[in-house]
């Protein structure tokens, strides 16, 4: 799909989210809640003793009982519908021409871990902060969005072997 058309479509969905539910879209929140769910299985006491974890899954609280989690489930289904309708559902590994598949998976995991850590520190990721916060003109969200782009552009030349 033309990127401008996809962007406008995305923007209309986000606008509906604000008009109906009074809130924006997200992605990392649901992953955080899944981490808390897993930690609850291991030790509820540990979750209760950590102020950050207990906010999501303190005693008697189900971290998955949340708007963002249902929204993220929808993202999975929406991605599947789009991918299936476009014939894009086949096992693939995208990587630059100069690295091996194994290296690519390692870097995907490392990059994901950094992103996950940064998203919690900044209270949201590209969806919840940069896109949703950006659209509501939240001051801090614009700062974080600029820093995401600055960080990626700043490091891009040094890691170019990964992609080009």
């Amino acid at each position: 799909m033309n990127p401008y058309v996809a962007g406008i479509g995305l923007g209309l969905v986000l606008l509906l989210a604000y008009l109906i539910s009074g809130r924006g879209l997200g992605a990392s929140g649901a992953l955080m809640r899944t981490v808390v769910q897993a930690e609850k299985v291991v030790s509820q006491e540990h979750v209760d003793n950590n102020f950050y974890l207990s906010k999501y899954g303190g005693d008697g609280q189900n971290p998955w009982h949340n708007w963002l989690v249902w929204e993220a489930l929808g993202v999975l289904v929406g991605g599947l519908i789009s991918g299936a309708s476009a014939g894009r559902l086949h096992l693939e590994l995208h990587r630059g021409p100069r690295i091996t598949a194994r290296q690519r998976l390692l870097y995907a995991m490392l990059g994901g871990a950094l992103f996950g850590f940064g998203a919690r520190l900044a209270r949201g990721c590209t969806s919840g902060v940069a896109l949703s916060g950006g659209a509501t003109l939240a001051a801090g969200s614009w700062i974080t969005m600029l820093c995401i782009f600055a960080g990626a552009y700043g490091l891009a030349w040094f890691v170019r072997k990964l992609w080009i």
Partner: protein, 203 residues
Amino acid sequence: MFPLVDTLGFAELTDFVIAFVLGVGFGFFLEQAGFGNADKLAMQFYFRDMAVFKVMFAAIVTTMTGLIVFSSLGLLDLDLIYINPTYLWSGVVGGLIMGFGFIIGGYCPGTALVGVMTARIDAVFSVLGGMLGMFVFAELVPLKPIMTFFNLETEGFSGRLTLWEWLGVKPGVVGFFVMLIAVAGFVAAEWAERKFNPKLQEV
């Protein structure tokens, strides 16, 4: 009138079903934009494929314009919608770390979820890595220096703060400038792709 959740007071299940349906739309357009592909996303940062910027700013301008129009018509109470709280320094450092993660891993969390559903193996590793990073953060954040930094507030620039409140102007003024920046960015993006994408140069 809007947001409906405040005027109609949905039952929780209704709210969750709405969340799910909105999520389907979000995931659909992310995948349609081609964002289930890390290689495409990473090319943004080598100026070869500017779709990340185009999609993001087309979306931001669309939503922002809608919010400003609905609010100026008196149909939407902006005080009732969620505005991401501002914490300057944790937002700066978190943003930079996310940027590093983006160019090393090729995905952000939302695009990785879409990638997982279209069978991208690297996306699966990205999501697993993301949860690992979140686990590490959650285990470290109770430590005093990290907790202090995470909750650090900057005088005059914290809490529920929008750009127009900060600048002391009407929302439409900031909206107009965001539109100008977006349009200038779109023009620059089209130029950059023609200049830096080797595939487009062969044509």
